[in-house]
Amino acid sequence: MLKEKLEQFIIDNPEDREFKVNGKVYTDQELYEKEIELFFEKSWVYVCHEDQIKQENDYFLAQIGKEPVIITRSADGQIQGFINRCPHRGATVCREHQGNSKSFRCFYHGWTFRNNGDCIGVADQQAYPSNFDKSKHGLTKVAKVESYRGFVFASLEENVPTLEEHLGNAKPFLDVVIDRYADGIEVANGVTKYGNVGNWKLQLENALDYYHPLFVHKSYFDIVAKRGVKRENASLQFKERVVDHQLYLGGGHGLTVHYRDFLKAGYLEGELFQSDFRTPEWEEKVGPLMAKWTQKISMHLLIFPNLLIMEGPALQIRQIRPVSVDRTEVYGRAYYPKGQPDEYTSRQLAAYEFLGPAGHGTPDDIAAFESCTVGYQSEKAPWNNLSRGYDREVTDASELEISELSNFCVAGNISDDTFLRAMFRHWKEQLAEEKDASKKEVHA
């Protein structure tokens, strides 16, 4: 049934340059449940940034797929994850969303656990059978929790590729995000939490879609224009975007690339928007390739399935959490170059005016997701057209200079559907494969 749906819902016809997606990919409950299982519960997902658990014994609550988890940094500095469920009667052992504690005591019947998961106390233990062994009643571990340069990812499934393999072609781009600055990045205090009506994939698509801003965000571009300055990076002409790219990296990951001096990617033409970290020492540290590309590009980077790093005048880490097939939650955090003078940080935070639920941009995107979700209820007019730029895809990575930084699968103009087509092919392939694997098991 699932396989038929996949065949039916994605029409990919290269000869006719036709690529159509049925609105049901955003509304079908069975597909959604499979997505959660496959992409969120059997693969690496982003859980938090290390800055959220900076100190020894810090902890942070997250959710992986349907599982409530605690991410802890134990006394020896190790980052681990546990299912936030008491093995006794099921209450969450930790209810504060973040904090600092060496142990968690379930408030229901008092069972207590060290922040490495060990059960260290069972109230009135003598009443349990003589063979009761509390060492067997620790918190269930999240199979893998690892940090890549501060970004903490986790997998509930033991049998997955290494985190670096998972990041794949996206890794050098994540390095660019960090290596732009002499001392990396720092996540600001505070979070904007918001949600939307609409499937989680709409969030990913929108972040890598440069066709919509001129329409959806006109009110914001008008504000910026009225400030009496030309925005270097937000031309109102599609033709001026021809040089910018959208890349599909494989594994669901992708990015948009603006070729511009990132340090000047502010609102004001030529204005330095961040402190300049480009010293000879920095260049030596990051090497010539990184030195070149960190100065040449800015990005919206998607690490599939739930992490978006949005580089613009404001710098944002956007974490996506599917709530149900038509509900999504987002955690937006600001970051800035570590050690940057406050003067620049405050400018970058001011530029956050576009983002978040009270911003000039985000709410209009969300209105679009909601509007699309109304449209996806239609059986009579079910198709989305994703053929934009089908004729101008670059499939030979060596054609683009950026391939010296990282390999990619396909590239297109930044305003095209190139990424989306590739992502949906990957999506379909993964979901279909999963089904096949289970079939084999049944027949064996």
Binding site: G190, V191, K218, S219, E370
Partner: protein, 161 residues
């Protein structure tokens, strides 16, 4: 005088409910700030808007820009226009001198929109503090700080309060 200050706070809320955003913007002094901090933990909001994340941290110019956006017809999230009522209670007025007042209050916003399916009701609430000054016989706001208790804005849009 205190009664007049109180009325001024209600007047401000009414202007927003009536969609008179330009008049609302005019209530702010040239050097005013409007701040909605984000929450850092369950019990603490951020304290420094220059290096921590806010939902809104605007100066007078930003307030005018927001008004421009709302009146542009291109603020898509405002279409169809939300029906709103703002309720303000527990007003405590602390005069600083003859012409300056700190006004603390609780607020509640009822926001109804004819969107997805049958329409959506949203309720937001919290505390706020105005710094009100009397300039040439008129009240103006020189600083406004709003705490939003339910900061998980699950329909993705928080209107000005």
């Amino acid at each position: 005088m205190l009664r007049e200050v109180e009325n001024f706070i209600y007047h401000e809320a009414n202007l927003m409910d009536e969609g008179k955003y330009e008049e609302w913007g005019e209530l702010f002094t040239e050097d005013s700030t409007y701040w909605i901090p984000s929450w850092m933990t369950e019990s603490k909001t951020i304290s420094n808007p220059t290096n921590e994340l806010s939902l809104i941290y605007w100066n007078k110019n930003n307030i005018n820009e927001y008004v421009q956006r709302l009146n542009s017809g291109d603020a898509h999230v405002m279409i169809p226009s939300p029906r709103t009522t703002r309720y303000i209670t527990n007003i405590l007025i602390e005069p600083l001198n003859e012409t300056e007042f700190i006004v603390k209050s609780n607020w509640f916003l009822h926001d109804f929109r004819l969107q997805y399916n049958e329409g959506v009701q949203q309720f937001f609430g919290g505390k706020m503090e105005h710094r009100v000054v009397r300039e040439n016989g008129e009240f103006k706001i020189s600083h406004k700080e709003v705490i939003v208790i339910n900061d998980n804005i699950n329909r993705g849009h928080l209107m000005i309060i």
